[in-house]
């Protein structure tokens, strides 16, 4: 498979997942903000933006939140920007992705809101954004050949999911955010599953355990890590010449083992730091995968034959 195409598929997976998770995160926060009377709006918003590694907004409000994470095309973290980037990548890989999948991405892009909208419409937009991601995943699962391209798409998606879930989990550790475990669980779409798993009983530790360790829940860190490792091993086996990819495998494996075999109370005590480490690992793995599989063209210029 062409390196350029593999790279596009990897990033399509990431961006679509990012749009989905950002929509969930925003939705949870908007809900919590309405109910929470103890936290100032500005603090809650600042915390959320800090979680997403955004620090250029002064005294953020509700509106800013929607703009920066929602509809502003010029903000790299917004849902609209994520879908635009996904569509750009899909356009480059158009001849290899199934027609249906391309059309679903293209339609989403055409329907993206072109300007700002009021917060009353926010939920409609966020629901729509989540549905489009779900549609994408469904079509991809049903139509894509399970070749390298599929593995790269899934790898991108899994890494992004690990990254975003770690941010959601970290949000529970915020002292002033007003976000608590139930809302984090809702944000991950796992509240009911959690209640069923723990038979209605819930405490912070169990909630953290569920989101971090329960590999049966598809949005947990463990599930995402396992999926990433699986995809990576598939592409490494198919392309043995990608020598550095083993490093990425080790990185992911170490992280998984660390989470799996650490004591939960230690993880909880140091939650913010642990989750930052997860995000760092994701960034490192992305870097390694890029250099070993998407080998960009050598930057050097050509020279006339015979002078070499």
């Amino acid at each position: 498979m062409l390196s350029r195409i593999a790279e596009s598929l990897f990033w399509i997976g990431r961006y679509v997942e990012r749009a989905d998770d950002t929509a969930r995160l925003l939705q949870t926060h908007l809900r919590v903000l309405v109910e929470d009377t103890t936290t100032a709006e500005v603090d809650a918003c600042r915390n959320l933006l800090a979680l997403m590694s955004i620090d250029h907004v002064e005294d953020p409000t509700h509106e800013d939140l929607l703009r920066v994470l929602g509809y502003d095309r010029s903000e790299p973290s917004s849902i609209v920007a994520a879908w635009s980037a996904a569509r750009d990548n899909a356009r480059r890989a158009r001849e290899v992705i199934p027609m249906d999948l391309w059309e679903s991405i293209n339609t989403t892009w055409h329907q993206l809101p072109s300007g700002r909208f009021r917060s009353t419409r926010a939920h409609t937009f966020l629901d729509w954004a989540r549905e489009r991601s779900a549609l994408f995943s469904g079509i991809a699962r049903n139509t894509m050949v399970r070749d390298d391209g599929w593995q790269f798409l899934l790898l991108g998606r899994s890494l992004e999911q690990v990254d975003m879930t770690s941010r959601m989990v970290a949000s529970a550790a915020l002292t002033t955010g007003g976000t608590q475990w139930p809302s984090v669980l809702r944000g991950c779409g796992g509240h009911d599953a959690f209640l069923r798993t723990y038979r209605g009983f819930h405490a912070d530790q169990e909630a953290a355990e569920f989101l971090i360790l329960d590999a049966r829940f598809p949005r947990s860190l463990m599930h995402g890590l396992t999926a990433s490792i699986h995809c990576l091993s598939m592409v490494v086996n198919a392309n043995p010449s990608a020598s550095q990819a083993g490093e990425a495998m080790r990185d992911l494996g170490r992280l998984r083992a660390h989470l799996e075999y650490s004591r939960m109370d230690e993880l909880l005590a140091n939650l913010e730091h642990e989750m930052t480490a997860v995000q760092d690992t994701c960034a490192r793995v992305t870097q390694t995968v890029s250099t070993s599989f998407f080998a960009a063209e050598d930057p050097r210029a050509w020279i006339t034959e015979g002078t070499r």
């Binding site: 390196s3 356009r91 055409h110």
Partner: protein, 554 residues
């Protein structure tokens, strides 16, 4: 009932549906019947569904960086079986002659030695590339794909407007137009047999595989695109997808020791045949523009030493130079010992003193084109030009007569087109596509029909408000498996419009006596149509510039 044709009044141009007496031509009967049964609302609904299906599927072209759906009109352009056979053989004949011409000028130059074409004309062509002199393609094919632009004059003759043997584009719209139309106008299809356009990709792939360097059993074919910002990117990806081959950009390829490789996740992989959609000027920075960021350094060397096959070959531009165009009928006689089946538009070569004199006298009524212009740069339409423009043109023509040709202003034929819920005549041209696999030349039934949408518009170019139509070639009646439930006697195959000099060719099958349909009329004062290429000079990106001379924005 006021039907959608109530205000349909063809002008002085030849109308493809209605003849001069107001009778519907046989080939259009079925289409006319199904359209007449529709109300304006229904037509609007069909038009909207066509547009939205194109937007959803991303069948778009870029204008200044904005993607727009390619306008597809719902009334097809219908070509009768007998007439198509003539066009088909005429196009194939032309490609055969141009192929022989290219092989000749890139080797011995017999055609020059025999005095058919002046040497100076070849050597002064900007698209004659000495870098590929003597390079022999493995199966002898240089023109793997050709697009020959045809128009119909008011008299009803089909003529060649120009040849495109470098990177002709537009074939993807032929395929997408058909699939969109089958959904939108099912009854018109059920009433008659229309020849399929689906086989193009397989034909092209076969031709490309046959072009592979010798000794390669299972050649790897790729499509080379300038990139997503090219206005024809949709076409590149459609062709790659339907042929099942990789679509690569220049940076995905690498030349090593006279061979070409692509970068894959599993390392470098050999490439044998490249269907390139990048112009010569950009394809190899070693030999051509050194600032090209789209090309592959070393590609020309790889081609010369037979490590890779390029389709179409480098240097083909010399064959579609507009001054060489005037010699094509002579080339057909010289190489094929036959008369041209489809004639040229009358053209004045301004380097001939008598011609120059006549043209200078009539500048205000002629179309003057630069010979090496691509993308329509520098074309002056006499009747539309101001006095100062004509004066400037006069000076430039006198200064460099080799650089210009002149043609009469030709009114293109018209086809009903949906404009504001009404059907109105609009001017069209036709670009059939030919694929040469080295053994025979196959012409895709139909081709791209482009239509100028604004009333009286002289330009069929999409960036100038042009659209396209599905082109239906009717199956010959002999092959028709079912009889049309038509109270009238079986319609005669459309009395073929006599193409120029067709009598000199043995007719491919018995046909009714040729009867001219178009009544010769003096050119009126109505706006007259001529195909004009748009000025694309302001485009910044190199990617956007890759275009065959037709100025097709697709």
């Amino acid at each position: 009932m006021a039907d959608v044709f109530s205000n349909y009044h063809p002008g002085v141009a030849f109308d493809e549906m209605v003849d001069a007496a107001g009778t519907i031509r046989p080939s259009y009967k079925a289409v006319h019947t199904s359209l007449q049964a529709a109300t304006a609302d229904e037509l609007r609904g069909i038009a909207e569904s066509l547009a939205s299906s194109y937007t959803q599927a991303g069948v778009t072209f870029d204008v200044g960086g904005v993607e727009r759906p390619f306008p597809l009109d719902l009334v097809p352009r219908v070509i009768a079986a007998a007439e198509w056979e003539t066009i088909e053989s005429g196009v194939a004949q032309r490609v055969r002659a141009l192929e022989a011409f290219l092989a000749d000028v890139y080797s011995d130059g017999r055609v020059i030695a025999d005095g058919v074409i002046p040497r100076q004309l070849i050597s002064s062509s900007t698209h004659y590339h000495r870098a590929v002199w003597g390079a022999q393609p493995a199966n002898g094919v240089r023109v793997h794909v050709a697009g020959v632009d045809l128009i119909r004059t008011p008299e009803g003759d089909v003529r060649v407007l120009e040849d495109n043997v470098r990177v002709p584009s537009g074939v993807s719209y032929v395929m997408t137009n058909r699939s969109a139309m089958v959904n939108a106008l099912p009854d018109a299809f059920s009433n008659q047999r229309i020849r399929s356009v689906g086989g193009y990709s397989q034909r092209l792939l076969t031709a490309l595989r046959k072009a592979a360097p010798p000794g390669v059993d299972d050649p790897t074919v790729v499509v080379l695109t300038p990139g997503v910002y090219n206005s024809a990117y949709f076409e590149h990806s459609l062709l790659a997808r339907t042929m099942g081959v990789e679509l690569v950009e220049g940076r995905d390829l690498e030349c090593r020791r006279g061979r070409v490789f692509m970068r894959t996740t599993a390392g470098l992989r050999r490439v044998d045949v490249i269907y390139r959609r990048i112009d010569d000027e950009f394809i190899d920075p070693v030999h051509f523009r050194s600032d090209s960021m789209l090309g592959v350094p070393g590609l020309v060397n790889a081609v010369r030493c037979g490590g890779v096959a390029l389709a179409n070959a480098i240097g083909n531009g010399v064959a579609d130079d507009k001054l060489v165009y005037t010699y094509v009928p002579d080339l057909i006689r010289y190489y094929l010992h036959a008369e041209p089946i489809i004639a040229n538009i009358d053209t004045w070569r301004l380097e001939e003193p008598e011609a120059l004199e006549e043209v200078l006298d009539r500048l205000h009524e002629l179309v003057v084109k630069p010979v090496d212009g691509s993308g329509g740069k520098g074309i002056v339409i006499g009747p539309r030009a101001s006095l100062s423009e004509l004066e400037a043109l006069r000076r430039r023509v006198i200064q460099d007569p080799r650089g210009w040709i002149a043609q009469p202003l030709v009114q293109l034929s018209t086809v009903p087109t949906l404009i504001d819920d009404k059907l109105a005549p609009r001017h069209v041209d036709l670009r059939p596509f030919a694929v040469n696999n080295g053994e025979d030349i196959w012409v895709l039934p139909g081709g791209l029909t482009r239509v100028a949408l604004p009333e009286g518009e002289l330009v069929v170019n999409s960036s100038q408000g042009g659209g396209s139509k599905d082109t239906w070639v009717l199956s010959p009646p002999l092959n028709r498996p079912i009889t049309i439930t038509d109270p009238e006697p079986e319609p005669e195959p459309e009395p073929a419009v006599p193409l120029q000099d067709v009598q000199d060719q043995p007719p491919p099958r018995p046909r009714p006596t040729a009867v001219p349909l178009g009544v010769s009329r003096p050119l009126g004062s109505r706006p007259q149509a001529v195909r004009v290429m748009s000025d694309r000079g302001s485009r910044r990106e190199q990617q956007e510039q890759q275009q065959q001379s037709g100025g097709l924005p697709c």
